[in-house]
Amino acid sequence: MKFVVKAWSNGGARAGILHLGTSTIDTPSLLLSTRKGLPHFISPDLLSCLPAPESRLLHVSPLHFLEGLSMKTISKIGGLHQLLGLHDHCFVAVPRDSIQCLPEANSTNKIGASFETPCGRLLIKPVEYMEMISSTRPELWATLADEVPAWVSDKRNKTSVDRTIKWLDECISISPASGAVFGAIVGGSSLEERRRCAQEVATRNVSGYWVGGLGLGESMDERPALLNAVIEALPEEKPRLICGLGLPEEILQGIAAGVDIFESTYIYHLTLGGFALTFPLDRTEINASNLVPSDVGSDPRKINLRATVFRKDTTPIVEGCTCYTCRNHTRAYINHLLNVHEMLAQILLEIHNTHHFLGFFRLIRDAINAGRFEEFRREFVQRWR
C-alpha cells in the first residue's frame, strides 16, 4: 500500500492518492458496504457498471463469514478475491460492520471483543481475528478494537483504550506477510483518552489508522473536538479511515478534520427505505440562490419512490445521471417494483445511490484540489438545511 497527500484545503482537509492492490484510488474516498463480501443488493456482474476505480474499495467484516463458511475452506479457495470472483476490487477488512455486526461493549472482556451478529453474540479473540485475516487476505485490515459508546464510565473507557492497544500489538505480532495494517484508535467521548490512544498508536509500525468507536452515540457537535484530538497526534503522511459516519454532513465533518477513507451505511439505509438521492452534483446548481422545488415535502436531497406521485413518472431518478438505473428505468417502474415488493427495486436503488454518493465524493475532491473545501462545505450544509 502507498499513500500520498496531494493537496490541502483550509487546514485539515486533504486530497490524496491511495495505491492499494492493483488499484489507484483518489481520496477522500468511500468504502462500499457489503454482506459476506458482496453488495447487499447489486448482483456481482452489475458491479462493473459503477464508476471505476472509485467503486472498487469494498468494506468487509470478516465476522460475516463465520456464518456458514469455515476459515479453512476460505483459505483453501484462496481468500476473498477467489471466493467472491471480484478480481478488480480491493478489500478493506474492519471487524465492525455498522449494519449487522455491532460492537457489544457490555460483553467485551479481556479475552476478546463482543459483537451482536445475525448468528448471535460472538466473542472474538485477537488470535481468532487474525486467523480470519490470514484466510481472507484483504488488501488492508484494521486491528481488533474494544469500541465503546459515548455514555460509558470513565473507567470503562480507559480500559477500552488499554485493551485496544494491547490487541493492536497482539494482532501485529501475528500479522500475515501481505496486507497493510491500520491501527485502531478508540477513547469514547473523552478528549484525553482519545489523545492518549492516538499518541500510543502513532508509535506503532502501522500503515495507517482506523478511528474507531465513533458513530456509536456521540452527537455530531461533540465529534469535531474528538476527531481533532486524535488527528493532531497522528503523522500527516499516513491515511485515516473511519466507520459509522453516514450522512453527507458527517462525511464533510470527517474530511474537515483530516479523515481520508469512509465507511458509511447511508446508501444501505436509503435503499431499504425506498429513497433515491437527487441533490444536484453540478456545482452551478448548488450555487444558485433559488431552491429547486421538491416533489415530496421537506427533503429535497432525496425522493421516496414509494410515493404515489411517482406512479406515472416516466423520467429517470435524476435527469442526466449516467448510472445503469437512470439510463434504463423510470421512476414509475421503480415505484411499481417497491409496491409489489420485488427485490429488483433495491438493486436499482442501490446502483443509483452508490453512483450518486460517489459523485458527491468527487465534488469534494474537486473542491479540495481547488482550495475551496470550506466554502463547498458551508454552501452544502446551508443549502440543505
Partner: protein, 354 residues
C-alpha cells in the same frame, strides 16, 4: 397474425424452428421464464439478455391489480414499462383466481383480452376454463366446450391482431375424445399458435405425455405449440421429442429461492451441510457467471440466510434452462438430437442428488 414460424430442422416429431415475433426473433424449442409482476425476481434486464431469455411471461392478473393495465397502457405498454427489448407473453389471468386482496374477481373473455391488449405482449392467451386433471366427471366436458365458446369471444374482443398473437388453449382433461374435439375446434379458428393447457397439475407422467403426444399429432405442423406450466428439464426434453416448441414454469426461479440448483445430474441442494466444504462450482460444465466465479461452499453460506443466494441461484437456474433450450434447438438443426437426448438421460438417471 403477427408471427412467422419457420421449421429449420426435424428429427421424427421433434422440430427446431425460428419464431419471428414483433419484438424478437426466437429459436425454438424454448423455455420462457415467468416474470409475474413485470420483473424476474432479483434479475435486471441486462442479465436476462446475458442469460439468453427470449420471451418472458407476465401474469395478467397480478399486473391488472398492480400497477393496472390502464397505467401500463398509458405509459406505452409493458415492454416500455419494464424496458424489456425482447418478447413478452401474457397469460389470460384466469389461472390465479384466488384473490390477493380478498375480493372475488369475475373475469370474462372480453375483459381478459382487453387487459392483455393494454399490456401489449407479443403473444396473448385466450381465456379458457381450466380444470385439474385429477378431477373426473362431466365438469371436464363442460370446461372443454366452454373453452371453445370463449375462444370466439376472445377473437371478437381482440383489438390488436396485427401486433399481438392470440393463442388458443386445448383443454379436455385426460380424455382423448374431449381433447380431440377441442383441438379440431381451435384449429378451425385458424389461430397464430396453440397451447396445450390443463396439464402439469398433479397427473401421473404416463397420462401427461400421452395427452401431449395426442395434441402435437393433431395440431397443425406450421404453427407453434406451447405446453403450459412445464417445467422440469426432463419433461421439456420429452415434450420436445413429441413435437412441442414452447414452455413456461416458475420451477427454476422458485426452486432457486429454496436453495436448489439445476444441474445435469438433476438437482443440487445448496443448503445441505456437505456443501459447506465443497469448493467445486455448482456445475463444472456450465458457462454462467455463477459457475465461473463461485464455489458451492460460498453459495451455501449465502442461501441459508440471505436473499443474495437466491439471486445467484436464479441466475444459474435460468441460464441452465436457456442453455437446455439452445441445446435442443441446435441438436435438432445439426441432426444430433438422439445423441443429445441419450446424453441428457444418461447423466440424469445416474444419480438423484450429488
Amino acid at each position: 397474425m403477427a408471427l412467422r414460424f419457420e421449421v429449420l430442422g426435424r428429427f421424427n416429431r421433434a422440430r427446431a424452428a425460428q419464431l419471428t415475433l414483433p419484438h424478437f426473433v426466437c429459436q425454438t424449442p424454448l423455455f420462457m421464464p415467468v416474470g409475474t409482476q413485470g420483473t424476474i425476481k432479483g434479475l435486471a434486464t441486462d442479465q436476462l439478455e446475458e442469460i439468453g431469455c427470449q420471451i418472458i411471461l407476465g401474469n395478467t392478473y397480478h399486473l391488472a391489480l398492480r400497477p393496472t393495465s390502464e397505467l401500463i397502457d398509458e405509459l406505452g405498454g409493458l415492454h416500455k414499462f419494464m424496458n424489456w427489448p425482447r418478447a413478452l407473453l401474457t397469460d389470460s389471468g384466469g389461472f390465479q383466481m384466488s384473490p390477493v386482496d380478498g375480493k372475488p374477481m369475475l373475469l370474462t373473455p372480453e375483459e381478459s383480452i382487453q387487459i392483455q391488449n393494454r399490456i401489449g405482449a407479443d403473444i396473448i392467451m385466450a381465456l379458457d376454463d381450466v380444470v385439474k386433471t385429477t378431477i373426473t366427471g362431466p365438469r371436464i366436458e363442460e370446461a372443454m366446450y366452454r373453452t371453445l365458446r370463449w375462444i370466439d369471444r376472445c377473437i371478437a374482443a381482440h383489438k390488436r391482431p396485427h401486433d399481438q398473437n392470440l393463442f388458443g388453449i386445448v383443454q379436455g382433461g385426460l380424455d382423448p375424445v374431449l381433447r380431440d374435439i377441442c383441438v379440431r375446434g381451435l384449429v378451425d379458428r385458424n389461430l397464430p399458435g396453440y397451447a396445450i393447457g390443463g396439464l402439469a397439475g398433479g397427473e401421473d407422467k404416463d397420462s401427461f405425455w400421452r395427452v401431449v403426444a395426442q395434441c402435437t399429432a393433431t395440431l397443425p405442423e406450421d404453427k407453434p405449440r406451447y405446453v403450459m406450466g412445464v417445467g422440469y428439464p426432463l419433461d421439456i426434453v420429452v415434450c420436445s421429442a413429441l413435437g412441442a416448441d414452447m414452455y413456461d414454469c416458475v420451477y427454476p426461479t422458485r426452486t432457486a429461492r429454496f436453495g436448489t440448483a439445476l444441474v445435469p445430474e438433476g438437482v443440487l441442494k445448496l443448503k445441505h451441510r456437505a456443501m459447506a466444504e465443497d469448493t467445486r462450482p455448482i456445475d463444472p460444465t456450465c458457462a454462467c457467471m455463477v459457475c465461473k466465479n463461485y464455489t458451492r461452499a460460498y453459495i451455501h453460506s449465502l442461501v441459508t440466510k440471505d436473499s443474495k443466494g437466491s439471486q445467484l441461484l436464479s441466475f444459474h437456474n435460468l441460464y441452465y434452462m436457456m442453455q437446455l433450450s439452445r441445446n435442443l434447438h441446435s441438436s435438432i438443426v445439426q441432426g444430433k438430437f438422439p445423441e443429445f437426448v441419450c446424453n441428457f438421460l444418461q447423466k440424469m438417471v445416474k444419480c438423484v442428488m450429488v
